[in-house]
Amino acid sequence: MTGATRPAANQPAAHTPGGRAARPSRVTAADLARSGAVRRGRAAAAKLWAGAVCTLLVVVPVALARVLPIPGPDEQHLDARRLPPLVDGHLFGTDQLGRDLLARVLNGGQVSLTIGLLAVVVSGIIGILAGAAAGYFGGWVDSVLSRLLEAQMSLPLLMMLLLVVALFGPSVPVITFVIAIAQWPEIARLTRSLVIVEREKPYVDAARVLGLGRVSVLVRHVLPNIVQRATLVVLLLLAQAVLLESALSYLGAGPERPFATWGRIISDGQDYVTTSWWLVTLPGLFIVLLVVGVNLIGDGLRDRSRRPKTPRTEAAA
């Protein structure tokens, strides 16, 4: 986790940053364009764009699933079983019960995405609050939280999640809760380390001297300064939440109502993989597209937010 706050691996800085064109310099515009920093900036922008395109390619059709002119996800046509893609207007083909695969993937995607988003919001709130409290107050609050985090890290996570789902039923709230529980330690640890750095800064003392209570200093001054960096990680966790949900659903611990989600669609199709390749391949590619998109956005944002850090801290000093 310390890696995120460490300055980027700079090339040996051979030039001053641009913007001082008036001073004569042997560094030409071409040199600047070739420099590591500019390349990194361009790569970050490319990642952001590519990520946004991939994500939207999945999210927009999923959001419009009810509006698009496709058959219902549970409409069975036993005379049109396992049609290959692009036959009879079935863009993704049909499954072993003659249901339109695209419709199943899009409707299942609504459930998967809802679970992913809710889980990330819940784990983000829990993680940021708990981590901030532990980092700011220290003492016994910190030791309790740290022990709790250690305990959870040493446990067989997927097994425990399966256990809870198997016992309390694969409903959407249970699965959302389970994924949130799986993910909050990451955010809590990051927030804790950010707050520990932040609480030593002079403005915290200033606010205390002005008579603010400890809680209001934390909530009104410290949290706003770290919440942006913490939410960046939350975005990356969205990708993991989608993957985790699909894994649970593949293992039979996913929601069945209102619609089967991606993992379940793939495990259903696995029996026919020798004859009907599309039943596994296409839903999987759909998941990969979404997760790649979210990961690229997260990566791009991280690369970009890392760059201006050095000048800003210099200006503050």
Binding site: G3, A9, P156, L163, L251, I266, G284, V288
Partner: protein, 311 residues
């Protein structure tokens, strides 16, 4: 040193005990009746009562718990309902399959991810490195069950060069290992790149370079040893997690390890088997974690056992 190990062992035992207790309570709070799933759909009320009595399920919860703790302390984890054998033995019989798969996967990961990450750090911000970087993002975005099935389709169905499942011959382990390693290589190589990148830009390295140390020595004798600790920690943590059963991959390839056993135990509500699995795997995981922490001073003389360990 000895005191440190003893204290850590005590803490580990406590963690495992609390975990198993939590699982004990959790599975009994949940709806569903193990007696019904054991006795089958044709069972009469008398049958159910007999089964409950046989397994002690008719007792109040606190009594059940005390009996459970007493039995656990004497090394008795109960009889698995579905296997009709001591639950502990059932778990132990599956353990070698999981450890074999975990070991081969972690070895492949280490031998692929470390050179790859070093290469990426030395070629940072070139076009080829960016390509490998994006490939890594793609690899870590694939659900393991999907990449597993895809590998199966290609190498066992379309071009039948490898067995689809099973463990009779050595080649059966190839596809599961690749499936697990694919994700881990993507994750670990990025970590290696980050650590190496930080070290390659560190002032001590610039100083060494200005003294005329060759680039090869800078990489091998300066940057790599200093990047070793976080990387080995990550590898160790992954290994510990894999010992808990590589659940998804085991199910995809019908690999008879602990992971697929868990899935089956949960489906049949086999209380003793669930408890035994959690006990064994959680115990193993905390033990591996302890060994990793004990290995730090060997890797980095600056670390002293018993003091705070850099993570």
């Amino acid at each position: 040193m000895v005191r440190y190990i003893l204290r850590r062992l005590g803490q580990s035992a406590l963690t495992v005990f609390l975990t198993v207790s939590a699982v004990f309570v959790l599975i009994r709070l949940a709806p569903g009746d193990p007696a019904a799933s054991f006795a089958g759909p044709m069972a009469t009320t008398e049958d159910l009562a007999r089964v409950r009595e046989q397994f002690g399920l008719d007792q109040p919860l606190p009594t059940q718990y005390l009996v459970f703790v007493r039995d656990m302390l004497t090394g008795n984890l109960g009889t698995s309902y579905s296997f009709q054998a001591p639950a502990f033995d059932v778990v132990i019989a599956r353990l070698p399959y999981t450890t074999t798969l975990a070991t081969s996967a972690i070895l492949v990961t280490a031998f692929a991810a470390i050179p790859l990450g070093v290469w990426m750090a030395r070629r940072a911000d070139t076009r080829r490195e960016a390509g490998v970087n994006v490939a890594g993002i793609a690899a870590q975005s694939m659900p393991e069950f999907w990449s597993g099935v895809m590998l199966l389709t290609v190498f066992a169905v379309l071009f039948p060069v490898l067995p689809a499942s099973g463990f009779a011959t050595w080649s059966g382990i190839v596809l599961p290992t690749i499936t697990v390693a694919l994700l881990q290589v993507a994750l670990i190589s990025r970590l290696v790149r980050r650590e190496m990148g930080a070290n390659l830009a560190a002032p001590y390295l610039v100083a060494a370079r200005s003294r005329g140390v060759s680039e090869r020595a800078l990489t091998w004798r300066y940057a790599i040893p200093n990047s070793a600790i976080p990387v080995l920690t990550a590898l160790g943590t992954r290994f510990a997690a894999m010992l808990n059963g590589v659940v998804v991959v085991e199910v995809v390839f019908a690999w008879p390890g602990v992971g697929s056993l868990v899935v089956r135990a949960l489906e049949t509500r086999d209380y003793p088997l669930i408890q035994a699995t959690v006990l064994v795997t959680a115990g193993l995981a905390v033990l591996v974690q302890l060994l990793i922490d004990l290995a730090y001073p060997l890797l980095d003389p600056r670390v002293r056992i018993g003091k705070a360990v850099r993570r």
